[in-house]
Amino acid sequence: MGRKILFITTDQQRYDTLGCNGGTIARTPVVDRLAAGGIRFERAHPQSVVCMPSRSTILTGQYPATHGVWMNGVPLPPDAPSVADTLHDAGYRTALVGKAHFQPFLDPLLRFEENAMSRTGLPGGMTYRGFEHLELAAHGPTGPLHYARWLAAEHPGAIAGFYRVLDASFQVNGAGGGETSAPQVQENPIERGWYHTDWVADRTIAWLDSLAAGDDWFCWMSFPDPHHPWDPPQSEVGRIDWRDVPLPPGYPERAEDRARIIDAKPRHWRMWYDGTLVTNFEAPARWVPATLSADQVREITARNAVECELIDEAVGRVLQAIEGRGWADDVDVVFTTDHGELGGDFGLLFKGPYHVDGLMRLPLVWRPAPGCRLSPEVVTRPVGLVDLAPTFCAIAGVDAPGWMQGAALPVSDTDADARRFERVLTEWDSELFGIDVHLRTVMRDHWVCTVYRPGTCHDGTEGELYDLDGDPLQQLNLWDDPARRSERDALVADLADHEPRARDPRPLLEAPV
């Protein structure tokens, strides 16, 4: 019998939303305890700051350029490798409960397996990307996934209480709600136990209960929150009064300060802030960031924190169930998210082609199976979500296949230095309705360096360079600072030297998201 793996992801969760990472708004004692008894990573970055590419990186252990999901709406190719396949082949029972999103959601023909499987199921004895059991959910209460069908069957009256994710034009909805008319906020009267966070935990526990005591298992428990919309059960919203929530350090309260900071960045920042450019499907098309008020930032931050607390409590229930099965000493728990959320930084919300900490610095906690007796550590060296798949292989005692491009996560800074965890790379490519944006970023030492390739708004000479030691909020772009030219040149060269292999031909964009 080997080590079992509970892999927990959230969606679009900031690093600073966990107590163990210094967060002060959401109470997250369960994950904080995992961090205290395990390894907490202070510089974990995604390889893409949007869902489908990032989740595909987690699954394949490859960079977006290599697995082919170069933007949301590009389905993961059927022949892409999967760590779940590797583990299943090694004898692990495998499940994915919650949000998958390796294939597009907006699928009116229902041609993608993930959207069809709640009706069709998996053929007997078959797996989907290595998972023998899948029960899927997304952010909303409608659509073809398991959660939506369950809600429609069991609690149809609850559907109307959710925020409508898409507007009448199938654009991301920008309508406001709550007490501040904040975008993507709505009072949702749903009973807490029917909300998708608890549903994901319930279905995870049900699957674990179906296993034999001696089974080895890998369970990816994937919460759709705290990704917008921010419509948690209204019964829980009172936990945090938004009026008491401090503004995030990255939100300059004076409009002229926001404008000054953004104007020192490549021009698509200001164009989106002013509502003159929409580059992607990751934020409401009709919402203008410059209209975001301080109170709206507070209300969204409070609701986001409530969602993080509900997740933490749901994780606690699952860990209790694991303990009840007698597995507590044998289970590795890994907690992370697919990417971050701007959360008011620079006066912005949601996500997009903006490679700054709000989107790139992720919560990552690995609590090795207590039976391994590894010492708790804090790792400050850069790691990536690309390193998760080889980590799962290492936990399972399986050699990481050659197609994986990362390495098993370090258990300490000493280990990281010995195995040369020096840099982490992040890519952005988007091409939507004639507008293209392409970024390549390296984080190493105390620098974040982003190179812009030619696109609709950029001629290929632009860039961003931030000194995280002196400017942790990344408000001072040093790209054009002659005094930093040598650092910039070295980072650009380092980035070029570590460009991941690109899949050829590049898969086609098949849907908006």
Partner: protein
Amino acid sequence: MNERASIRREVRITGSADEIWAVAGDPARLTEWFPGVVACEVDGDTRTVTAGAGRAMTEQIVTIDRLQRRFQYRITTPMFRQHLGTVDVVDLGDGTCMVVYGTDAEPAMLALAVGGATGQALTNLRALVEAGGPDAGAGEIAGS
């Protein structure tokens, strides 16, 4: 962001223009190559397409021009404010053809959701034709 969008996908297929047109220009053969379409019925200039979930979409056939080898149709279900799909088979004169599938629609996101499927449709069409002619390959591709 514009309300309307225009999506284009294309593929080069080894085969004669007549072979390709026999499939692409026949509105009743859509199930053989368009992903997610499980049934289609043609009644005059109306085509009813059924997707995997059992959802039916009605379409108006606008153009079947065998001389230009152009097929056009409109999706008329209400969620589209406008739609025009165009399939052109262009003989390149070297034993290959370029097949171009255009989708012009409003709202833009539905244009991409439907037009995004046309790339896979053309890949399926190429496999169908290059497998030895439309009849030979039809059974393998249907329902893929």
